[in-house]
Amino acid sequence: MSKGMRKYFKKKIFWFVITFIAAVILNFILPRLMPGDPVNAIVGKSVSPGASQEQIQEQIAFYKQQFGLDKSIFGQFFDFVKNAVNGTFGVSYSQYPRTVSDIIGSGIWWTIALQLPAILVGWILGNVLGALAAYLRKAFDKVLMPVSLFFSAIPAFGMAVILLVIFAVNLKVAPVNGAYDAGLIPKFTPSFIANVIWHYQLPFWSIVLISIGGQAVGMRSMSIYELNADYVKYARFLGIKDRRIVRYVFRNAMLPQVTGLAMSIGSMVGGALVAETIFSYPGLGMAMYNAIVSSDYPVISATTLIITIMVLLASFTLDIIYAFIDPRVKAAQFD
């Protein structure tokens, strides 16, 4: 490892740590700025109508103590960090006494199972289409470009709603919401898995269709940029076959596209919000949405913390991978 490389990584790690700390603090503070006292809301629900003022006060004091809200803001922050480190993330306000880690644990797999394949499929299809558009140009490009520009202009929720209406409401070939039928109990039986796959289609394709457009547009302009590069002309005049030159071009155009892939994987929880709320898919996005609506700080903090860590890790890994796989970045960073 060269000296420049070591310096580069040291700097990266330094900023990684600093950003992480700042993000943790923000994740703690921001949700607590939200209006509405969650304890009052819980007590209002749990206390019997005839309870006296003292009983209510007692209840409030009980919950405040349970949630650690009687401590100073620093004490609360300390608890937050402690709970984050030991992995429980504290107790949910709105689903008391469920722990936050339980809520997140039940949602995160749905989100990953939904998003990861969808993002990958969308990325691959989009890049292939974009590359084709750049290479074939003329006819293909003329038709495909406006179409994918239009597709990428349809908002994610719009695509989800259109699919929902066509396939679930009108054609009735797919269910309207959920990840499996309400009456089923999750277990690994063929019928349950079939049911899950049946529910999986619409949210999956709505994410795929949305990402194809944007990826295709990006890949096309990257490829055209590379096709016009000097090395293409030089390689041609050295007698190198067109097929190999095309491989050069697409490899070089593809490398920057990896950024988009890594970032969308990193931010998939945030990206899941729209599709999951429209299809009432029981993932992390839905959990976060419910938590926001019910001022459930611990859940909000935990989900945003997960998003933060994922994005941070994604961008940090990217920096490192790029430094090795793309000599252009390598040369620019290590000098």
Binding site: N27, P35, D141, L149, A153, I154, P155, V161, I162, V311
Partner: protein
Amino acid sequence: MKSTLRNIFHSPRFVVGFVIFMAMVLTVLIYPYFVPRDPLVSIGKGFLAPGTYLSVYDANNTSTYRIDLPEAAANRMGSLLTAEDRKTMLDFLTVMGADTEGLDLSDDSVNDLIALWKSSYDEENVRTSKYEGFSTKAQRNKLKRLDTKLSGSDSAGAMTVVSGEGDAAESRAVADTDYVKVNEVANALNLPLGTDNFGRDMLTELVSATGTSLIIGLIAGTIATLLGLLVGLLAGYVGGLLDDILMFIANIFTVIPGFVLLILIYYSVGQEARGVTTCAIVIGLTSWVWTARSVRSQVISLRNRDHVNLSKLSGHSLFRIIITDILPYIASYVVMAFILQVSSGILAEAQLSLLGLGPKTTVVPTLGLMMNWAKLFGAYTSSNAWWAYFPVILVIALTSFSLNLMNTGLDQVFNPTLRD
């Protein structure tokens, strides 16, 4: 400058995008002069399908014209019988062995179908024969209802209109050949997009919402672009510690994705303060990051150009160098970034509102709020009222489409290597 403008307007993509966008802006500006109705006033009850609505009362009091249309009776029957009704009739006739040769579900054969039905259907016969598929009581009742429906509408000749309350005096008979002229009816309402769940005219609401959303996009885009430009210029040109600090802030904004941050900040503002302007400002404040990054990298590449060094040597102030030696070189880029920011601002508002975090307003609608209402009141599930959400999605898509087109058009003009 002039030739740049000419080049821009020679780019087909830019022109198409510009025309679509300006058409929308003009519609938003002109429409209120033609329909000066408050976009949020309820005129109906629940989802009304698109169409022209005539006041039955006024239609009765409008002078009539006699028009003999040979297909009038068939049309009348056709609109009376749904496709499902016809299918039931056809099934029944087939089961009981009537000659249904040449009959189908289209309007053309509806008269023959009815004639055949009248000659074949007998309540008594159905009850005793227990035809296959029509043996239960519910099924027989269905047939009976159908028969009643047919005979009720069949009183060939005239229909009596009674006016006044409790007074059963016949005021006038309406013949089936009587017509009124639509624009002579005192109250006729054209609802090209129907109404939403509150019974509000969708078109008027949509036009007003488009206007509001465009304003949100413009405010958010302006804030994001100016902020991004400022941060990018300072970080890129001044560099050093300032660069590190500014990029650190930008990093935090990337790590906590803008959308999440948006929700958190927006929620902490409090429901009461959440107006259209606040919404736009918050969106702008959370989306400047990528503009700042790209401006910064462009400024860094400009920083050591000869003309900038020359200015530095001549002792020009930081402000002057930035204005005269840096800004002109990134101006085209900033314009493009602004267009994209406007488009993503409109989208951000729509997503926020869809999640119920949109502007708290009862004065003006936004595109996102309309989507939210459609969702809350089951427009795409239980009511299946496509007109309550599809036009909204279309307008959002068209807005970003036109802005993106303008952007790629500009890109082709400013970065000729991308030209085909």
